[in-house]
């Protein structure tokens, strides 16, 4: 009995420790974001509380001088277009591959399967040249096209769901005179809602957080997304940790809100996305 109690206590201890390890670095940055530059300079240590817990001046600086507003705008635009495109492409591909028997079907399928094994980071050297020759370099089209065109995982997820939709539904619609596009639009697509939710969440978080692609393809300051705009804080705000912290918290808060509201979908989405 006592041994069980000790084991239980140790388990809780480890969980509390892990919670501290996760939350402490974030909390300290949050506290720092509320301090004034004067407080930062007097060297009172990282763990002290800010004098004025409602000092949001650093957030104003981060928003105005750090161009975070246009960054959020660019990110939102890329998110909407790239996710919309991914949903269309993924569902169309899955519909065509699962519901039709045609020549080279196996080859097409293999092309998509093998592509899933190629990590995107390795091929950017050459992808860059293609994006450049298409005239998309330093425009919002570069990340949009790359996010849409290289997402094999969503195609997998859609394939799983299309397979689960009974073929008899398509067939009865066909007998009523519907053509393939009507079947896709009126029957398959509406039934794919859970898959669409998964793809929107997983893709949305990945696009929101991506740094590599916007960093490589959109060097202009006007085209900053939240990752690259935040990264640029490093220069002008060099040692101004209070401003950098405010910028980091600004970027984290939307993620936290989405996570709190959509927890269950997020867990399911990432589990499905990674294992399929």
């Amino acid at each position: 009995m006592t041994r069980r109690a000790v084991a239980r206590a140790l388990v809780y201890l480890s969980l509390v420790l892990a919670t501290l390890v996760v939350l402490l670095p974030l909390t300290v940055v949050f506290l720092t974001s509320l301090k004034t530059s004067g407080e930062m300079a007097d060297d009172s240590g990282a763990l002290t509380l800010p004098d004025d817990p409602l000092n949001f001046g650093n957030y104003v600086t981060a928003f105005q001088d750090g161009r975070m507003l246009s960054a959020f705008g660019n990110t939102a635009l890329i998110l909407v277009v790239a996710i919309g495109g991914t949903v269309l492409i993924g569902s169309m591909t899955a519909y065509a591959i699962d519901r039709f028997r045609f020549r080279f079907r196996k080859l097409v399928l293999a092309l998509f399967l093998v592509a899933a094994l190629v990590p995107g980071v390795t091929t950017q050297v050459a992808t860059f040249q293609i994006v450049n020759s298409l005239g998309m370099f330093d425009s919002l089209w570069a990340p949009i096209a790359l996010y849409m065109g290289t997402d094999i995982v969503s195609i997998y997820i859609f394939l799983q769901f299309v397979r689960a939709i009974p073929v008899s539904l398509d067939e009865s619609a066909r007998i009523d005179g519907a053509n393939a596009f009507t079947v896709y639009r009126k029957i398959i697509f509406p039934l794919l809602k859970p898959a669409i939710a998964t793809v929107v969440i997983v893709k949305g978080i990945n696009v929101y957080n991506d740094f590599y692609i916007p960093f490589l393809y959109m060097p202009s300051e006007d085209l900053g997304v939240i990752s690259t705009s935040l990264f640029r804080f490093k220069g002008p705000f060099g040692a101004h940790w209070e401003t950098i912290s405010a910028g980091a918290i600004l970027v984290i808060v939307p993620t936290l809100i989405v996570f709190l509201f959509l927890q269950r979908f997020i867990y399911n989405g990432f589990t499905r996305g990674a294992t399929k």
Binding site: A96, L117, A248
Partner: protein, 316 residues
């Protein structure tokens, strides 16, 4: 199982609609049906070829040239780039840095396994702990980079915590190569552990509860339950996590690039490749490096598929 029944239910060849349609119209329908799937596939295939396959082919081609990425001129140099890659030690040293991340991923998987097991039993505040452990995975990488730059800063979070316990080291955590790499690998564990954890937890929770009850009746303790029920149940997810962390360790980019820019011996293979290609305009050499990395990752994947054959690839 469902597949066979479905195949049987589906007509072998697309038949034209029955009824009084004249034969020529039937043929036209058939031809039209042959074209239909391609109408759906043309867009996705164009994107797939343009942004995945064309780059691979080009990259292999560039790797045998001295191209600088800009000038219209390029010369075929044979395997010179590859020779340079394998003989100039500073170009190959970056692989050693991956070792730190590989070691970190062992820690990461072990920790994820521990927390997943613990939280699969009845624990108070389970959802809170689950959320806290997973949340770092969702945070923007640049924000994480800054959070931890401040964490490791002189007089930053870590120093402040240590001084609470009476250590006043004032160490420059990112100052020496070994210390910097260990710190950065630690950040990577902090960031990615949550994904492994949630995957493991999902796999453990899909094991039917009666198994534990039966084991408990037979007098099995927690360790035996883990060893004989949980471990076999999560094998596929475990092997997936291993492969993800091996290829992840080889292609680390964000955290070291954001935090140190590759200084003090923290340069990774991808940082080096990006610098070769986009700062020093050595597209040829960078392509050769990328080809080597791609081959290594494909080899690792292949080995994993070999070792864990029950993790079947589902060819529809």
């Amino acid at each position: 199982m469902t597949d066979t029944t479905r195949k049987a239910a589906r007509p072998a060849a697309p038949t034209a609609p029955a009824g009084p349609t004249p034969p020529s119209a039937a043929r036209r329908t058939r031809r039209w049906r042959g074209v239909t799937p391609w109408l759906f596939l043309i867009g996705p295939l164009v994107l797939l070829i343009a942004f995945t396959y064309a780059p691979i082919v080009n990259m292999v081609a560039y790797s045998f040239t001295d191209w600088d990425g800009v000038s219209p001129e390029l010369h075929y140099t044979g395997a010179e780039n590859y020779a340079e890659l394998f003989t100039r030690p500073e170009l190959f040293e970056v692989f050693l840095v991956s070792g730190y991340y590989l070691a970190a991923s062992v820690v990461q998987i072990a920790a994820a396994l521990y927390f997943a097991t613990v939280l699969s039993f009845n624990v108070r505040f389970r959802n809170f702990f689950k959320g806290v452990l997973f949340f770092p995975y969702l945070i923007n990488g640049v924000a994480i980079g800054f959070v931890f730059l401040y964490f490791f800063q002189d007089g930053g979070t870590l120093d402040a915590i240590l001084s609470l316990f009476g250590y006043d080291g004032d160490r420059a955590w990112l100052g020496t190569p070994a210390s910097a790499n260990v710190s950065l690998a630690g950040v990577s564990v902090w960031r990615y552990m949550g994904l492994n954890f949630v995957l493991f937890l999902g796999a453990i929770q899909s094991i039917p509860g009666e198994l534990y009850e039966a084991a408990e009746l037979d007098g099995a303790n927690r360790w035996q339950q883990f060893r004989h029920i949980i471990a076999p149940g999560i094998r596929p997810v475990l092997s997936l996590s291993v492969i993800l962390s091996v290829s992840g360790s080889l292609s680390v980019f964000e955290i070291p690039y954001i935090m140190t820019g590759g200084a003090t011996g923290t340069e990774t293979f991808v940082i080096q490749t990006v610098k070769l290609a986009f700062q020093f305009n050595k597209t040829g050499l960078a392509s050769a490096a990328a080809v080597v990395l791609l081959l290594i990752i494909l080899a690792v994947t292949w080995v994993q598929r070999r070792l864990v054959p029950d993790d079947k690839v589902d060819l529809v």
